[in-house]
Symmetry: C2
Subunit: 445 residues, 2 copies
């Protein structure tokens, strides 16, 4: 593993890995903006009462204190680092509701912090890339089709292993457990979310012990969670379990629309999967998880859903639907495995060789001419022998070296990968377009 | 002031302001990469002993604690948020020295945190954009000319008021105060740094009381600090003060080389200014400050210098030179004053109008065709009357609306700024290049 991690859970990338991360982020930004999403950044900190509104993650929050707070008697306690981008976004929407245009389409790419135990793909500092569409009072259901399609378009722009989305619907689950006669459907959903961790036997046990489910109810819960289809046939299979409830009907209809809507544009992208629960309690409609082929062990790398009650003030509520791409969770394992790389290690396309110390101003002037034409150029650090200057470029994988005084004092440029050397005019020479800037590459064997 | 600031000192931008910030950052990144600088990101947190190595800012550090640390008996104390990007960079260089290529050119654009009292241009969370060049053991002095030129190139790529850099040299100051006979030259430098705050009279007083300077020594210190020239004539004016010291000679020669080197490329950019001190004790050569015309009250908006001893391990030392652009300090006041803006509020270039609900899949397909050609497009949220759909675009300053069924069912596109409407083919229609993406604009009157 090449990245440094002197403090566990806080990964840092080497410059050539960071180049990959930058290209990843740029590709996401481009796709999100092509789809009309505006970027926002929120401050890293939130009031603790905002962060603790939801129970589950509260214990993982990093709390802040000013070192001088002790000395001057004041206190910043009550502030913590955000652990996701959804809570800050909800707060941002409420604070700026009067100045935003609804439906508001936003993306947000920032680090988040959680004090949980680090493991593969799970860090204490990690980058998320979120998109959400929120509206005022009512949110049209077609956005539940659009959001996963935008995310899929972003994934397709990157050299990633295949991604599969799994969707479910909160009303469908809640209606099913209610229709089944379980007293606390939300508790059932949160239990079902542990299915992958504990396995079906323990889960059945928990359903009986914690929720007072009968053998038959537990059996039907497990049968329900096993339903997973590529198309809308899941609805029939759920109905075959014989449970009836109006909320179940509503959820089945909503999920059918999402699965069919996505399938019409991207066949094979999304499955209806009754085992997907999403423990967080703010989802009210469709929920999504995404798995990366060959990296299923990482769990979901992109999750989200529809929430109708996350943000509300005295006048309005702001329902929304969004997905959150686990940028670090995806990227760091792929970098560790050498699956993605950049076509070179540095932005520099051209090294201008330095014939002697006194030529530096002329060489810098030549470099400026190339930069003015959008070609990344630096001048060699010292007037060493040309062999040494070429090795300087090779070690950094800079593809081209310009010799200002090559043939009879005329400049030439060498592609140091194949040794080809030709006459050089700084006003007209152009590198092949794939060499202009580092490119993302799938380097898996 | 349009940005929200529900917690003082933690500014947040509206989406249209964030668009400006994004374009700012993209312009900086591009210029830095054109000059062969590699991006790195460091984690937001550092061990407290790293953060407290320098005295002055220690009291402003935000200390972290995991909320559950109390419960599980463990502790994360000993971690704090970084207050600049220099300390993390020095640590990064040491940790990764074996895997970096020297001289190492890096840029780094990230938020920093300081618990100091917020005021105009000074925030508790603020973005910095740093460039540095570090080498192993020896750093060639020509980088002290290169770094301010790269920063000036970045400023020139942005719609900013004119910037003026002021440079001094730590050896020059130290040599001057030593040659003058002051016992503690570093203490004198730190006192001189307060000159702007306290004024010359109080400063003279402090020099006498705190450093035991005589009337004549204090007078010469003040005369020294008043020397400020556009060219290398400062050296003669310093010599006229009659102070002699070998380190002063060295500093005069170094600063002369920097001033003349920068002046040869960018006349008028840089001044030699003996009043520039930079309180931080790690600088050992050239120091820089930068002032924005009309915004001198913000203080320096881009500072830096040469440091020979910031990073060292058992085998090597890593001298460097860098400058730090105060991105938030520059941008937030300009946004507040309406001096910079983007040419529109959202990334979207085209709104596809929705004739009726059933047309959504067709309209989305049309939008995908435009997006595939790099044109940011979204579909109207609802099949309202076209007048309403046009107003939807107007409120967001989306320049073009496509009507899929305009004339005899054939699509047309309207520039809603001038009402011009023409036939539309999604495979060939192209917006004017200045409309493709939002552009940065200087909107000052």
């Amino acid at each position: 593993m090449s990245r440094s991690s002197s403090i566990s859970g806080f990964p840092e990338l080497l410059p050539q890995q960071r180049l990959v991360e930058q290209r990843f982020i740029a590709a996401l930004e481009r796709v999100f903006e092509l789809n009309g999403f505006s970027s926002i950044n929120t401050r890293a900190i939130e009031p603790m009462d905002q962060l603790l509104r939801k129970g589950e993650t509260s214990k993982e929050v990093y709390v802040l204190r000013r070192l001088q707070a002790d000395a001057d008697g004041s206190s910043d306690s009550g502030l913590g680092l955000h652990f996701d981008l959804t809570v800050p976004f909800a707060r941002y929407v409420l604070e700026n509701a009067g100045q935003l245009q609804f439906p508001f389409r936003r993306y947000q790419i920032q680090p988040c912090w959680r004090g949980e135990r680090p493991q593969e793909g799970r860090f204490r500092e990690f980058w998320q890339a979120d998109i959400d569409i929120v509206d005022r009072d009512e949110l049209s259901p077609h956005y539940e089709i659009e959001v996963p399609l935008v995310v899929a378009e972003a994934f397709a722009a990157l050299p990633l292993p295949p991604m599969t989305m799994h969707a479910n619907n909160r009303k469908l689950c809640q209606g099913f457990f209610k229709g089944l006669g379980l007293a606390d459907p939300m508790a059932a959903i949160q239990l079902m979310d542990k299915r992958d961790k504990v396995g079906p036997d323990v889960l059945a046990d928990l359903l009986r012990k914690e929720l007072g489910a009968s053998e038959e109810q537990a059996r039907l819960c497990l049968a329900f969670a096993q339903i997973c289809t590529d198309d809308s046939s899941f609805a029939e299979r759920v109905r075959e379990l014989g449970v009836e409830d109006p909320m179940l009907d509503e959820g089945l209809a909503e999920l059918t629309a999402v699965i069919e809507g996505v399938r019409a544009v991207e066949p094979g992208l999304i499955k209806a999967d009754m085992s997907i629960a999403r423990g967080l309690d703010y989802y009210t409609g469709t929920v999504y998880e995404t798995f990366m082929s060959g990296y299923e062990r990482l769990g979901s790398v992109c999750s989200g859903g529809r929430y109708d009650e996350l943000a509300a003030n005295n006048k309005y509520r702001f329902p929304g639907v969004g997905m959150s791409v686990g940028l670090s969770r995806i990227l760091v394992p792929l970098l560790d495995d050498g699956v993605v790389a950049a076509s070179r290690d540095v932005p520099t396309c051209v090294l201008v060789a330095l014939p002697d110390v006194d030529s530096r101003p002329d060489c810098e002037a030549l470099a400026r001419k190339l930069r003015a034409r959008g070609i990344a150029t630096q001048v060699a650090p010292a007037a060493q022998k040309y062999g040494k200057q070429i090795r300087f470029a090779q070690r950094r994988t800079i593809p081209f070296v310009v010799f200002p005084d090559a043939e009879g004092g005329e400049p030439q440029v060498r592609d140091i990968r194949n040794g080809e050397q030709v006459a050089f005019d700084p006003q007209t020479w152009q590198p092949p377009s794939e060499d202009l800037w580092p490119q993302l590459e799938h380097s898996g064997s």
